[in-house]
């Protein structure tokens, strides 16, 4: 990866069409690699989730032509909430296969075009419309059911979930691109309006308008364009059955740092865990040669559409054992070491998770989200957070290897990619 750019994420961007938002992110990325002229770009991949939100079919080509990337190759990638992560990997595939020397991944979503309840309906259409949508028709309800089972299996607490929100909102205070930048407390989260028990308004990410761009190149091209490219050393993609009701109850897929005796009485994944997340992580770890993720990865940008799914994802990524996610946040491990969150934390900063503020605070313009995570991770590894955010509070001292994680519909598609210092 040689460069990245994002637009400012906002509740609504009536001042710009989706093409213009993508152009902002694209120019942002090009601005960081002045040696890259557009004639060196071999093609692009488009990422956006919902034709309903866009109210425009073939929006991908319209963004491609606005960027001036015709007649080069382009295609659209779509996979719900993981669309951005899948697009990032599709761009990687274009370069890794040798088809392109330089490929642009761009993503966007225009969620402000309908009211929030209509947006929730569009999102819920990404659940089985014969068996699931007519009953619940609400993704927050689906995730609430998942975490209630997690609570039942493992004793996860609502306060532990709230700590995720405190952390991510707190981090976003120093990220100028984030949609929500405010300091909150555990009590604020629990006192917020109940959406789907036990998830409150502050346990859930917000709809957003925004765009993000990543530029990937092969090694030779990368070093011609920048002195500090980031190497993509592992990619993994997992899937699971659309209906939560159909998920099997079998054995845990073991990570290298786990053994069967860790999980004697646990049926897996049930509805409490994301098998696709575990599967994606293990593929990426194998490819990158990671056997002890907690120690071998410096930071994580993961898909925290819900505070609960961040906790569930710590476990899928084997940062802790299944069932240990609540305690993992309570002890402070995923907090940033230098930020004051207004609470006492015993083991702060073991592995910062969502230093950018994550989806909960940055916003979740679906097609842009997975690419936004890649851009923030890229800047962390380059050590350019200070320059990009206007202040260095979120820059980690050690950020040589990061993990990005993108996730769709109750864990149906999950991608994990490993990014490392490439120079």
């Amino acid at each position: 990866m040689v460069s990245g750019g994002v637009s400012k994420f906002a509740k609504a961007r009536p001042d710009a069409t989706f093409q213009k938002m993508v152009k902002e992110a694209f120019d942002h990325a090009l601005g960081d690699v002045p040696r890259l002229k557009t004639d060196r770009i071999d093609g692009s991949v488009a990422s956006y989730f919902s034709d309903h939100f866009t109210r425009q079919l073939m929006a991908g080509i319209m963004a491609t032509d606005y960027l001036g990337l015709c007649p080069k190759p382009n295609k659209r990638i779509e996979g719900g909430g993981a669309t951005g992560g899948l697009c990032f990997q599709a761009a990687w595939e274009s370069v890794a296969s040798g088809r392109m020397n330089c490929c642009v991944a761009f993503g966007f979503e225009t969620m402000s075009r309908v009211q929030t309840w209509k947006g929730n309906e569009f999102i819920a259409l990404a659940s089985d419309v014969n068996f699931d949508y007519p009953v619940g028709g609400f993704y927050s309800g689906y995730y609430a059911m998942m975490v209630n089972r997690h609570i039942h299996e493992f004793g996860t607490t609502l306060e532990q979930m709230a700590m995720v929100s405190v952390k991510n909102h707190g981090n976003a205070c120093f990220n100028p691109y984030a949609q929500k930048r405010k300091r909150i407390t555990v009590q604020d989260v629990r006192n917020a309006e109940m959406v789907a028990y036990p998830l409150t308004l502050l346990d859930i990410c917000v709809m957003s308008d925004g765009a993000a761009v990543c530029i990937l190149a092969d090694e030779e091209t990368a070093f011609q364009l920048t002195d500090r490219p980031v190497r993509i050393t592992g990619v993994g993609t997992g899937t699971d059955m659309m209906r939560m009701a159909d998920r099997p109850r079998g054995k845990v897929i073991l990570a290298p740092n786990e053994k069967e005796s860790d999980y004697r009485n646990l049926t897996y994944p049930g509805v409490h865990s994301f098998r696709a997340g575990r599967s994606a992580a293990l593929q990426a770890y194998r490819m990158a040669g990671i056997t002890d993720p907690l120690r071998e990865i410096d930071f994580v940008e993961l898909h925290d559409a819900y505070t609960s799914s961040e906790i569930q994802t710590y476990e899928d990524l084997a940062l802790c054992r299944y069932g240990g996610g609540g305690r993992f946040i309570e002890e402070g491990h995923p907090f940033l070491p230098r930020i004051d969150y207004g609470m006492k934390l015993k083991k702060k900063g073991t592995i910062p998770v969502n230093p950018s503020g994550g989806l909960i605070a940055c916003g979740h313009p679906v097609g842009a989200t997975g690419l936004m995570q890649a851009v923030f991770a890229f800047w962390q590894i380059q050590g350019t957070i200070g320059r990009h955010f206007g202040s260095g509070e979120l820059q980690l001292k050690k950020a040589e290897r990061g993990l990005i994680h993108s996730h769709a519909g109750t864990g149906t598609y999950v991608t994990v990619s490993i990014l490392e210092r490439g120079w």
Binding site: P14, D15, A16, R55, Q115, W117, K118, N120, E121, A124, V129, N130, F131, D132, P134, V135, G136, G137, F138, S140, G141, A144, M145, M146, N148, R149, H152, E193, M194, V195, A196, Y197, P198, M241, R243, M244, A245, D246, R247, P248, R249, V271
Partner: protein, 185 residues
């Protein structure tokens, strides 16, 4: 014939000065301020129009149709893969484990709450029904679950994982999965 031709060739107002008929539907604007100096246009506020959109689908349940016919007859149907000895509470006509076709089988009408939530907010279509309770139901001897509404409780504090529930059916079928719902047993 000659009359018609005469009408077609008769010069109309449109022929003399072509233009669309003025309408007063949708977004109708009478005076839009506009600057004399075009260089100030980039600072103008964006224009937002309303765009209603509705579709009627002819949606087939295909091979899953017997499930819905069953609900209309107060029967809860799942499917079973004989070779895998695996029963699906939410029907699938093919077993994802072995790829073979499954067989229809009747499910028990009593089960337990596997997990639950109460939705206080929702999609536009269901907003008027909030708060409503969702449960995944598990049945003895059945390997997968069924998503359904739970009726007859007032809030999440009255729902417990593993509590017993029984199926009830709408008297007038709507051929939707909500034709079956559950109440505390």
């Amino acid at each position: 014939m000659s009359k018609k031709r005469a009408r077609l060739t008769k010069p109309t107002a449109q022929h003399r000065d072509p233009g669309l008929e003025e309408v007063m539907t949708g977004t109708t604007v009478f005076n839009v301020p506009f600057p004399a100096d075009l260089s100030t246009l980039k600072g103008m506020s964006p224009l937002v129009i309303r765009f209603p959109y509705s579709v009627e689908y002819l949606h087939s349940y295909g091979q899953d149709s017997p499930f819905f016919a069953g609900l209309a007859n107060r029967k809860l149907l799942g499917t079973r893969c004989g070779p895998c000895q695996y029963t699906y509470a939410t029907p699938r006509l093919h077993c994802p484990a072995c790829g073979r076709e499954t067989d229809w089988t009747e499910l028990p009408q009593q089960g337990r709450v596997h997990t639950f939530t109460t939705c206080y907010y929702g999609s536009e279509e269901f907003l008027k029904e909030t708060p409503f309770h969702l449960i995944l139901v598990e049945f003895d001897g059945v390997d997968t679950l069924l998503l359904a509404r739970l009726i007859g409780v007032s809030g999440p504090e009255e729902i417990r994982i593993e509590m017993k529930v029984k199926a009830k059916f709408r008297r007038n079928s709507q051929l939707k999965t909500t034709d079956v719902y559950f109440v505390p047993a």
